[in-house]
């Protein structure tokens, strides 16, 4: 299955946020949406999810425009995990995961035993079953992201949109979330679009053996896209982030494969 984005443009008032973006997401592929703050990453995800409907261009799954899909049908194809987590009512983590079954329920239905079993299975698969009965809003940031990832899996959509899933997480939790996303890619054939502020995430997934493509945005246009090592060059990063960097290639102790890492460089003239 392919999610294709053709000539996507979006304006907010007179301000152009996205300008003629064309790309595609294949099943089994992870697209890392990179770019500085305000480059249009979140808006692009909002458009793909269908939530933002007033764009120009087209977003289609296998030739079917997302905007013409019925609500439930769309939700069975695209899951979206926005950056902002707005749950402020007390719900058990189990219930939050169970909500992923909504696209499969009738308008007035509630989840049944099968849905429940599926939720438990996913929680166990992600090794977070011990959180099931805890109140979602009392969990740590990392645990919450895992619960939301579980919900996305329960939702069963091929395409998963993740907006900055590691934002405001500490180093350990960040790694834990990235690890789970890698696992998800390696064990099943999702198509993931993940926006992130850290270009190194693209290298991380590539090193883990995930089929990774980086899309570098600047002011609503695609600067470069392709394999991480071809997109994330020192020149491209200087152009987009206005930052001097060096890309390090090394093989860590006890690691099997070499990995790449971008580090900012401070010279006599500053950054």
């Amino acid at each position: 299955m392919t999610l294709s984005i053709k000539h996507l443009s979006f304006q907010y008032g007179h301000q152009i946020i996205l300008d003629d973006i064309s790309t595609a997401v294949e099943q089994g592929e992870l697209v890392c949406l990179l770019g500085p703050n305000g480059s249009g990453k979140t808006t692009m995800l909002n458009c793909i999810s269908g939530f933002e409907g007033s764009f120009d261009g087209s977003i289609e799954i296998e030739g079917m425009p997302v905007s013409e899909m019925r609500d439930a049908e769309r939700a069975r194809h695209i899951a979206y995990m926005p950056q902002k987590d707005e749950v402020n009512f007390p719900f058990a983590a189990r219930e939050v995961v169970l909500m992923g079954r909504t696209p499969y329920l009738g308008r007035f239905d509630v989840p049944g035993d099968k849905d429940r079993a599926l939720a438990v299975a996913v929680l166990k698969a992600l090794d977070i079953h011990h959180l099931a009965d805890q109140m979602y809003h009392t969990l740590s940031g990392g645990e919450r992201q895992l619960v939301r990832i579980a919900r996305g899996l329960v939702q069963g959509a091929v395409f998963q949109l993740l907006d900055e899933p590691t934002a405001s997480l500490d180093l350990k939790n960040e790694m834990m979330v990235l690890e789970h996303i890698s696992e998800m890619m390696l064990t099943s054939s999702h198509g993931i679009v993940m926006s992130t502020h850290d270009p190194n995430h693209a290298f991380y997934f590539a090193q883990r053996g995930v089929k990774t493509r980086a899309v570098l945005l600047e002011a609503g246009t695609v600067v470069s896209e392709g394999a991480p090592e071809t997109v994330l060059t020192v020149d491209n990063i200087r152009r987009v982030y206005r930052l001097g960097t060096q890309v390090l290639h090394f093989t860590a102790e006890e690691a099997e494969k070499p990995q790449s890492h971008i580090v900012p460089i401070r010279t006599e003239r500053g950054i």
Binding site: A75, P82, E86, N88, T102
Partner: protein, 347 residues
């Protein structure tokens, strides 16, 4: 690990017990309401008439005791249950939709709109009961419609705009109520208006019950059908949308239903504050936010509470003390007590 499991099991049993108690509360309260009142009827007499009533489905029209029980106390108790339940459920729904714990139906202008309709009834129709109720009902719905129109003048963030629209409409109707009171005849119109505005279940019979019971039941039924969608809405608009929920339509139906049930409640009993705001919080604190249990338990608690308050209202004094006074006096300390006990847990 097993210790933890037994703890959660213990908690679950306790939750189930509290739920059952809350669910039984309105029935106990309504039963108690049949026994209490100014007309002295002994415990035995009530049981006897009840037994006769249940077994034969008839009562002797000449029997004053049966008349007081079935014509005065019973409809009033049932109406109290429905009105209290409606106010609590509409509060629960609106708090969920607006993601704001300080919201109730009063905020969309329903209460003030309905009050203004009633004031018109007092001024132009001499306070005829039917006119007052019909006008209260119409203006309550008109108020929501106006709030909605104001909100839809702006395209972005309709939820916040609806709240703003509600505040505007609410204050306009509140001013109109004051204006109505100002021009009302202080000798014969004003007292009725004031008493009605303070809320009362006095003089309610099966006529009033019939007026209120259908809109409230139908609205509650529709809201209850959408209980799972309401849970999903708690995730926020974006996530609920991505789970296939039609945000605009779902919220629209829910708001319309809660407005309808509030208008029906306000139309028969005047403005009774406090219940819509606090009862859903109590359930959230005690049981949790899952609308599958929150909705029916809010209805039960709100309904049971109002029946109990009404028992006080008509037995504390020889006449009728306005219910609004008691709901605030009895409810507020209890709410604070609950808040301290649960330390705001689950909220």
């Amino acid at each position: 690990m097993s210790n933890r499991n037994s703890l959660t099991n213990h908690r679950k049993t306790r939750l189930r017990m509290i739920s059952v108690c809350i669910a039984l509360l309105p029935f106990a309260a309504m039963l108690a309401a049949l026994f209490l009142g100014r007309y002295p009827i002994s415990f035995i007499e009530v049981l006897q008439r009840l037994w006769l009533g249940i077994t034969t489905w008839h009562y002797d029209v000449q029997d004053v005791v049966a008349g007081v029980i079935f014509q005065i106390r019973l409809p009033r108790a049932i109406l109290g249950f429905f009105v209290g339940g409606a106010l609590a459920v509409s509060g629960a729904v609106l708090q969920g939709i607006f993601r704001n714990p300080l919201v109730d139906a009063g905020m969309l202008g329903v209460s003030n709109g309905a009050s203004f309709g009633a004031v018109l009834g007092f001024i132009f129709f001499n306070g005829r009961y039917g006119a007052v109720i019909l006008l209260a009902f119409s203006f309550g719905l008109l108020a929501v419609w106006m709030s909605y129109r104001i909100a839809s003048a702006y395209r972005s963030t309709p939820t916040i705009m609806l709240v703003l629209g509600g505040v505007i409409v609410s204050s306009v109707f509140s001013a109109l109520v004051s204006f109505g009171k100002y021009i009302a005849d202080p000798y014969d119109e004003l007292p009725g208006i004031v008493f009605w505005l303070m809320g009362s279940l006095a003089n309610t019979g099966y006529r009033e019950l019939m007026i209120a019971i259908f809109p409230i039941s139908i609205s509650f039924f529709v809201i209850y059908l959408m209980r799972w969608r309401m849970n999903v809405l708690s995730l926020g608009d974006l996530e609920a949308f991505s789970l296939g929920v039609n945000i605009r339509r779902t919220k629209g139906i829910l708001i319309a239903c809660s407005a309808l049930m509030t208008a029906a409640a306000v139309a028969v009993s005047g403005t009774i504050g406090w219940i819509g705001l606090v009862m859903p919080h109590m359930i959230r604190m005690l049981i949790g936010s899952d609308y599958r249990t929150l909705l029916p338990l809010s209805f039960a608690l709100g309904g049971g509470f109002l029946v109990i308050v009404d028992i006080f209202a008509r037995s504390i004094s020889s006449a009728e003390m306005p219910i609004g006074i008691i709901t605030a006096l009895v409810g507020a300390p209890f709410y604070v007590f609950l808040l301290r006990r649960t330390k705001g847990r689950n909220w």
